[in-house]
């Protein structure tokens, strides 16, 4: 599961607002505050790149599903040809993630079918896509962290 940026920001408010018992003050509180600071720094990366990464990934998923439709749409009961209709809606976080979840589920089924059929070129295409998907969502730590 990937928490969305709105959830993450609300979570940091919750973390900072939660009353701490006396035994959780001192070094622990300092360490916890440092973790919150780092999460906020990572949040700025997500705010900058997150929507574009989701729009790109959803488009890439629709492409690979559409390309495979000729050979796999029937056994997958039309899930590939209909993927074009899974839209990004209003482009907000919820709509993008909702579409992404639906498209990812169809990709999982397609990859499984490609493995069952021994379809090496399609598997290669999907494996390359995985690398790009993971890279597009990368978060980077500053220096020492932790």
């Amino acid at each position: 599961m990937t928490p969305t940026l709105p959830m993450i920001l609300v979570g940091q408010v919750a973390a900072l607002s939660a009353p701490a018992p006396p035994e959780a003050s001192g070094d622990y509180a300092v360490s916890r505050a440092g973790m919150v600071a780092m999460l906020l720094m990572l949040s700025s990366q997500e705010a900058e790149r997150g929507p574009a990464a989701r729009v790109w990934e959803n488009g890439a998923l629709r492409s690979v599903l559409a390309e495979a439709a000729v050979a796999y749409d029937a056994p997958l009961e039309g899930a590939l040809s209909s993927a074009a209709g899974v839209t990004d809606g209003d482009g907000g976080w919820s709509a993008l993630d909702g579409a992404n979840a639906e498209l990812r589920r169809r990709l999982i089924d397609l990859h499984r079918a490609a493995e069952a059929r021994g379809d090496a070129p399609l598997q290669r295409r999907i494996l390359d896509l995985y690398v790009e998907m993971a890279r597009a969502r990368r978060l980077e730590l500053p220096g020492a962290a932790g």
Binding site: M1, T2, G11, R32, H111, V131, R138
Partner: protein, 336 residues
Amino acid sequence: MTLAERLAAYLSRTEGRAVAVENLARISGGASRETYRFDAVSEEGRRPCILRRDPPGSLIDTDRRLEFLAIRSFVGREVAAPEALVLETEGEELERPFFLMGRVEGGAPASPFGVDPYGAHAREIGEQFFTIMGRIAAEPVDGLPICEAADRPAPQDCWRRELDYWSGVIDADELHPQPIVRAAIRRLRAAPPPPAAKIAVVHGDFRSGNFLHDGAGRILALLDWEMAHLGDPLEDLAWAMDPLWSRPGDTRISGMVPLDEALAIWKRASGLEVDPKALAWWRLFASVKGQAIWTSSAKAWLDGGMKEPILLFSGWFTARAQDEILARHLSELGPA
């Protein structure tokens, strides 16, 4: 009553004398239990102790009795296990189950995500790290306290048991589809490893950041035994080798020593050989297990009211880093 007062009352009752609790302070350490340091003060003097208490929501659903018995299995056996003192599986006096350990003084854990966490001492630390891991693998399990609570799998079943468990965690806790780790799970099921060379105690989270060191090249205590079990000793070796525990661009294992040195040290200490095919399987599995833990962490963060930053860090930053490692690994393996 405060936690310190409750703990003092518990110790006074169980020891049959007045025990005061001083300097109680929560410390960072392990996301699956709340960890506190304190001094137990009685007529006999001052004992430095650690309290590990179940949290309301946990990163990993682990068996505290197993953790306690695993630690107890290695006290005095040159593997830097801390002293396991008391286990309370009901734990109503502290509101939740807990156990107490002796506290090892003079050391600190390094962040696994820090830059060059061991500096000039990396090689010395690596020598001890893989030696301790090898010693645990070498230890005959018969008669060890952990056997009171741990299932003993057949050598050919170790992989299946672990893969079933961790893929089940993903099934249960996943809130967003994860095609990369699903592909890795299928890959692992399609090509199982050879049977374990022996059944050993597996620490389960043997990695950079899970031990105390004195800052001068000496490991003082091995921490976080909560995922300990009996199984294939290559599981620990592969877990420590996951690229997650090294900074990008650092080819040393866990930021300590190169791969060939790590293997040589481990083989020397364990007396075991390393089957490359088996290790390759366990290395891919390590990333699957990692992703299962981070998936569980994100769910625990949500279920716990989004209050614990460490759970979010694991379920967000670490999960994404693990996905990238898995994707590269699968790409290198090529089509199934």
